[in-house]
């Protein structure tokens, strides 16, 4: 617990520092360890601290790292059967915009799952289809790169 508190404090102090990406990397690694040890709440706290410490600007990397972190938060919420929180995290990530890439597709997947968990089948299907279109384009690039 002390380790977790120290990490959260580090995130709080490191907001708007230029090496935020490094801080995010450490946070995700810590979140992995916490999840592996069954500490879901600890992992959530670390991931939330990453989001809270995000700089105001940072271009594509900021978007990508935030979207990935929000995807993880949405996943945690789904595991805890909190569809509303999952939807909220996914929407926050999607609001950051970006290209039709891996991170946007991941957010669409968890957004669809949140719809599904709330019985919103039509909405879930629509969002899943968007995710699949991006996924297919990415797979095409992976199989036959330019």
């Amino acid at each position: 617990m002390k380790r977790l508190l120290a990490l959260v404090l580090l995130f709080a102090c490191s907001s708007r520092r230029p090496d935020w990406a490094v801080t995010v990397a450490q946070g995700h690694s810590e979140a992995d360890h916490l999840l592996d040890s069954g500490n879901r709440a600890g992992a959530r706290a670390v991931l939330e601290a990453i989001v809270a410490g995000a700089p105001d600007t940072g271009g594509e990397t900021r978007r990508v790292l935030l979207q990935d972190t929000l995807f993880r938060l949405a996943r945690l919420a789904l595991d805890e059967h909190d569809a509303a929180a999952a939807a909220r995290h996914a929407d926050a990530g999607l609001a950051l915009g970006g290209e039709d890439d891996l991170f946007v597709a991941n957010l669409l997947v968890v957004r669809g799952a949140a719809h599904e968990a709330r019985g919103e089948s039509a909405l879930a299907l629509d969002v899943y289809q968007r995710a699949l279109r991006i996924n297919e384009a990415l797979l095409q690039k992976t199989v036959s790169p330019p």
């Binding site: 490094v22 995700h28 990397t61 990508v64 597709a105 997947v109 899943y128 995710a131 699949l132 990415l138």
Partner: protein, 155 residues
């Protein structure tokens, strides 16, 4: 290489020599060797063969002709530019790299997702709940590659 104009000092020396040849006083002193030759020509000119005297006079003029000054800029300017490029350019690049936040990375520079990751994502997008766990596992691997890439770019 083109000769430059003689300096005022050289002009004064040439004038003094001309005066010495004529036997007139001068403020500027020509070179001692030139004075000796001039005196020889002036005082012993009548005893010399005219052709010999003319040759000596030509030699004298050649000796006192202002020497072209060496031009330094064709050598030093490229050298200075080279040094400037070698010193300033790495410094500027270093400064620029320090100013670049690690955030300036286009998505095109991110690692490509693996087929296994995309397969897990497609399964999850078909609403298969179990596939979400596989997607999580694949994303852990991808994340490691992503952070390694960002670290490389941040250096």
């Amino acid at each position: 290489m083109k000769d430059e104009e003689p300096t005022p000092e050289e002009l004064r020396e040439a004038e003094a020599l001309a005066r010495a040849l004529d036997g007139a006083p001068s403020e500027a002193a020509p070179p001692p060797e030139a004075l000796e030759t001039a005196a020889l020509l002036r005082h012993g000119g009548g005893e010399l063969d005219p052709a010999r005297a003319q040759a000596l006079a030509a030699k004298l003029r050649a000796e006192v002709r202002p020497r072209p000054r060496r031009r330094w800029w064709p050598v030093l300017v490229p050298l200075a530019l080279g040094v400037a490029v070698m010193v300033i350019l790495p410094s500027a690049l270093l400064l620029r790299s320090r100013q670049l936040p690690p955030s300036i990375v286009s998505s095109a520079g991110l690692p490509a997702p693996t087929a296994a990751l995309l397969t897990a994502q497609a399964e999850a997008a078909r609403g298969r709940e179990r596939a979400l766990g596989a997607l999580d596992a694949q994303m852990r691997s991808y994340r490691r590659a992503l952070f390694a890439r960002l670290q490389e770019r941040g250096r």
